[in-house]
Symmetry: C2
Subunit: 312 residues, 2 copies
């Protein structure tokens, strides 16, 4: 790998013609019957069956969305629930997606004090040195948590810089209670999220981290809440690509994500997870494609791409 | 398991006569030569050797400190750097420590939006349902990050409630740049850390979460910074046990941790990591115990216990 992360991502977005990302959060109980009825994948009480079924399903989803979107985001929590078997599956799926030319964001949301973050950075952003882990099993970028300040994020930034990887620091999240902390007003003005946004933009602005695309290897997770607040964040973080969660199942649509982009249509990567990967549970798709779950996923992904395209 | 976490911890502290915890953050390059020179543990380029060496060393450390302290904190980052082999080793060491009667805190610092945190809670706080993971391989408590507000923490609280486990929510961390975010003054008064402290105390105060010890299953990570600020946190979080990092290698001593305790000497569990587990690198111990690394660790642990005892 030799190209700056933000440049790789920008080119992938231009090539596919869409700034979208499919989030992969698999739950065994929601897998299509076509998967879980298969011999060897059908025993919900057997760890190998369960992990193999989840992996098989995700491989299909990755294959379906690979021609349609530039990136996937794989949430490690859904694999970590299966302990070390799940972690191996996570890395295999990172490899599967990267092998198909997708940009892969490992949604790991790690952070600790510096010398511990350095270990997480080694796990999730470094070229593997030992064992069966191959280069393609490590994602192109990961998500990290800002609660420790720069110390806790710096090892990830350094690893990104060294290995042409990316980091998306949580600034504003998509969940209901996010404002309990992130929405607090500071004595100096602005909210906690805006303060974190300013910090992240400063960290991201180091010349060594900037790509020719004009974006830094350090971006932000920025969920649309109210449009004015998002416009402020967008303005104060000119160097940062926004990874935008909350589309679809979490209730946000095209208009909500519009202010995450710059006027030129760059600067954001919108993620939809459950609304795409579980489209076969949605009557809208079921009616058209009956029991063909892969077609449901494909068309939900196409609809997602269209609804983002309609606002930029 | 049938006893409330805070009660189990309180009893363990009383039984051992000390509110201390040894933090286990192993790095292969710092292991004693007695370990890394052993056949099968001596190849730094072989993942099995490295993980086996780290595991062997940690087993010794756990055995040495088990009679001296009530608890150990195992930092998963140091295992996650070895990917799935490391994760299996982490769980084996949790089992080793719990089998020796220690309270085990899994220092995982996880959090995400609710439905993802539920997966992390399943990984780290639930009775294992599948595979080779045994009940003793799951820690008694874990650390979690508050950046998402209650949504992101609730699945951990629910799992703790259901399974008699504990949760320590990060409030004030021990690293240099913690104040960049945690130290910000809010328009409504107090710092971000104090605001998080108030939130955590409210979450912790649910009657169902309270033990007969008077403490909740939900505690806080609260590092001593300045004594007045710590006294405020201690006063505003009467229901929470403080997990207190930063002792020893990070520069804090007995006087710094005094305000983490209530006047009756309860309410805190002080952690030392590198100053104990790498004591054989310290000339103070080397001079007395020469190359006997286990004696160095044992005496550093005894000294740690003494210096905490001297202030409560």
């Amino acid at each position: 790998m030799s190209q700056h992360f933000a440049d790789r991502l920008s080119i992938a977005i231009r090539t596919k013609g869409t700034p979208t990302c499919v989030g992969i959060d698999p739950v065994y109980d929601r897998l299509p019957a076509d998967i879980t009825a298969q011999d060897g994948l059908d025993d919900a009480d057997d760890i190998e069956c369960v992990v193999d079924a989840v992996t098989e399903y995700c491989r299909h989803v990755i294959k379906i969305v690979a021609p349609l979107v530039p990136a996937v985001k794989i949430n490690i929590a859904f694999f970590e629930q299966y302990h070390w078997d799940g972690l191996e599956a996570y890395h295999e799926l990172v490899q599967e997606a990267r092998s198909r030319g997708l940009i892969v964001i490992g949604d790991v949301k790690r952070a600790d004090i510096g010398h511990s973050s350095a270990m997480y950075a080694r796990a999730h952003l470094a070229a593997p040195e030992l064992g069966e882990v191959e280069e393609l099993m490590i994602p192109d970028a990961i998500t990290v948590n800002p609660y420790f300040g720069l110390d806790g994020v710096k090892p990830f930034i350094d690893a990104a810089d060294k290995n042409d990887k990316g980091v998306f620091v949580l600034v504003q999240t998509s969940n209901e209670t996010a404002a309990e902390l992130q929405g607090q007003e500071l004595a100096g003005g602005g909210t906690v999220a805006e303060h974190v946004g300013r910090l992240v933009n400063r960290w991201a602005g180091e010349p060594a981290l900037m790509g020719v695309s004009g974006y830094s290897a350090i971006g932000a997770v920025a969920a649309p809440r109210d449009p004015a607040a998002m416009a402020r964040l967008r303005a104060m973080m000119p160097n940062c690509i926004f990874l935008v969660p909350g589309f679809g199942a979490q209730g946000r649509g095209g208009d909500d994500v519009k202010p995450c982009f710059k006027p030129d249509g760059t600067g954001a990567l919108v993620t939809a997870s459950r609304s795409v990967i579980y489209a076969y549970e949605d009557t809208k798709y079921l009616e058209s494609y009956a029991s063909e779950w892969e077609k449901c996923v494909e068309h939900a992904c196409r609809d997602f791409v269209k609804s983002v395209a309609s606002v930029i």
